[in-house]
């Protein structure tokens, strides 16, 4: 192994005339890839309230409340502040009611603002079957 003094200098000088690799982030944004795991979102018309997502979420970030048993009204809260963006809920959902969007700049000054609430009525039995099948 031979030592070469100043071995790095040609590479350094070459970069002096190249564009810097830095991306000036808040002013200039990179595109995220297609199936990026951003924030979980519910398509409430598809949800059949099977609670698979609640059971599998590792961060206990999904809650489903029963508003009224007769009218089949439910409220789902996705606590985005607890969510670790693993997309396990998306995988567990039998009807593809959940999906991840590509939002990653979700920081706010209060965790309450990160709560997403959906109030919805469960679809009829028939609809449920066709969707799961």
């Amino acid at each position: 192994m031979k030592l070469k003094p100043a071995a790095f200098i040609p590479e350094l000088l070459r970069h002096l005339f190249k564009r810097p690799a830095t991306i000036e982030y808040p002013f200039e944004k990179l595109k995220v890839p297609d199936d990026f795991r951003g924030t979980p979102v519910l398509k409430s018309e598809l949800c059949i309230v099977c609670r698979a997502c609640v059971r599998d979420c590792p961060a206990f970030a999904i809650e489903i409340e029963t508003l009224s048993e007769e009218e089949k009204k439910y409220k789902m809260t996705i606590h985005n502040d607890r969510c670790i963006h693993c997309a396990q809920c998306v995988e567990s959902c039998p009807t593809k009611a959940l999906f991840m969007n590509d939002e990653f700049e979700i920081a706010t000054d209060s965790r309450l603002k990160l709560k997403a609430e959906y109030t919805y009525t469960r679809p009829k039995k028939s609809g449920q079957q066709s969707q799961t099948g």
Partner: protein, 397 residues
């Protein structure tokens, strides 16, 4: 000359995570070193006992930010063994692909950190710039840069398409060229070589006796790699070489890691070219019959071990994690003896320490009497947090 004991850490610019090295020095020479752990205990093992097998994948992923895939793979392999699942070939190949990409990212990161500890900031900037390439590849494959979450019990969660394959090959080609340049530079730049050659000597016998693992062990001339010794996934089907060095110093550890980088590029290319068709996962049962298993995995830093015990429910009875860094601490103490103060950060960085991965256990020992005690959470609260538990907070579940 007078002997002085100085604390390196728990807060020190050379250490990115909290650990304490008590160093006794005479002038600029280290006479004695002692490692103290326990600054970053997170209770992950206990937490795992209260979660289902699926939830635990994401929990063990968070043991380490850099070898996140290592821990999940080690864990799911264990669980698969417990319930006797046969993972489809394509699933295994994608798993190995992420493994190798992770190794590339980890070794490039380490090269940068080592250069930074030696005060070679330009090399640090360049390696980290090039590391972005492999991070982007991982993001394309898995949807995230750090926690890939690609493993699931019984296979992997995402498939690979042609466009992704092409991008990976392209990225690997670029990285290959860069790595060859860094290999050349790292072993010929006089100031850098002066800092790493002959520093932190760990002779072969000592390395074996002190149970060093991973590149630290291989740099002492011992050929040991779980991928060869006890092949998991489908490593027995893949041709690759085991990289060793016999200089036993930090230079050797650099050489081993850059050689491994080159091997990893070859493995990635092989996997992409020989990716089998078929399913990527099989369905896993939720509940597992009582049994126990030990799973081994060659993480970028060395051998990673998970022990899992099931009890017939959908939650493990016990999960024990031995991260590679822990195995390397005794060897580090040996390496630190009789080195210069200036070499401490380099020697310590050369084992690629990931401190909070290794923190599994806290024992409360009375400093005066020497006996250990067990405290409940309520007692700890009462004893060490004087403030009342806050009311009206939304957070605790």
């Amino acid at each position: 000359m007078k002997k002085i004991t100085i604390p390196i850490g728990p807060q020190h610019p050379a250490l990115k995570e909290p650990i304490s090295l008590r160093i006794t020095i005479e002038g600029e020479v280290v006479k004695h070193a002692d490692v103290r752990l326990g600054y970053n205990h997170r209770g992950i093992e206990k937490l795992a006992e209260s979660r289902t097998y699926i939830q635990n994948i994401y929990l063990v992923e968070r043991i380490c930010g850099i070898c996140s895939h290592s821990h999940t793979t080690c864990y799911v392999q264990g669980v698969e063994k417990l319930c006797g699942l046969e993972v489809p070939k394509r699933g295994l190949y994608i798993r190995m692909l992420v493994c190798e990409l992770e190794r590339i990212h980890s070794h490039l990161l380490w090269l940068g950190v080592a250069a930074h500890e030696a005060g070679f900031d330009s090399l640090f900037m360049y390696t980290w710039r090039d590391r972005e390439v492999v991070m982007d590849l991982l993001e394309i494959i898995s949807g995230n840069r750090v926690h890939y979450a690609i493993n699931t019990i019984g296979g992997v969660r995402r498939n690979l398409n042609e466009i992704q394959k092409e991008k990976i090959l392209e990225g690997i080609k670029f990285l290959k060229k860069r790595t060859e340049y860094y290999t050349n530079l790292g072993t010929t730049e006089p100031t850098f070589v002066a800092r790493i050659a002959g520093v932190g000597i760990l002779p072969k016998e000592k390395a074996i006796a002190l149970c060093a693992v991973g590149p630290t062990l291989r740099a002492s001339g011992v050929s040991s790699d779980i991928r060869k010794d006890d092949p998991y996934a489908a490593y027995d089907e893949i041709p690759f070489d085991l990289c060793t060095a016999d200089t036993c110093d930090v230079l050797g550890r650099v050489v081993v890691r850059v050689k491994e980088l080159i091997e990893s590029y070859k493995i990635v290319e092989y996997i992409i070219k020989n990716l089998p068709q078929g399913e990527i996962k099989v369905k896993a049962p939720r509940k597992i019959q009582p049994a126990e298993v030990v799973s081994r995995y060659e993480a970028p830093r060395g051998e990673n071990i998970h022990y899992i015990k099931s009890n017939g429910t959908d939650k493990p009875e016990r999960l024990k994690v031995r991260a590679p860094t822990l195995a390397n601490y005794p060897a580090t103490i040996e390496m630190l003896k009789n080195c210069f103060v200036a070499d401490i950060p380099l020697i310590f960085a050369a084992i690629d320490p990931c401190i909070c991965c290794a923190e599994r256990f806290v024992e409360l020992i009375d400093a005066k009497k020497g006996n250990s005690t067990v405290l409940s959470m309520a007692e700890i609260r009462k004893k060490y947090y004087s403030t009342e538990t806050k009311r009206n907070v939304v957070w605790p579940l």
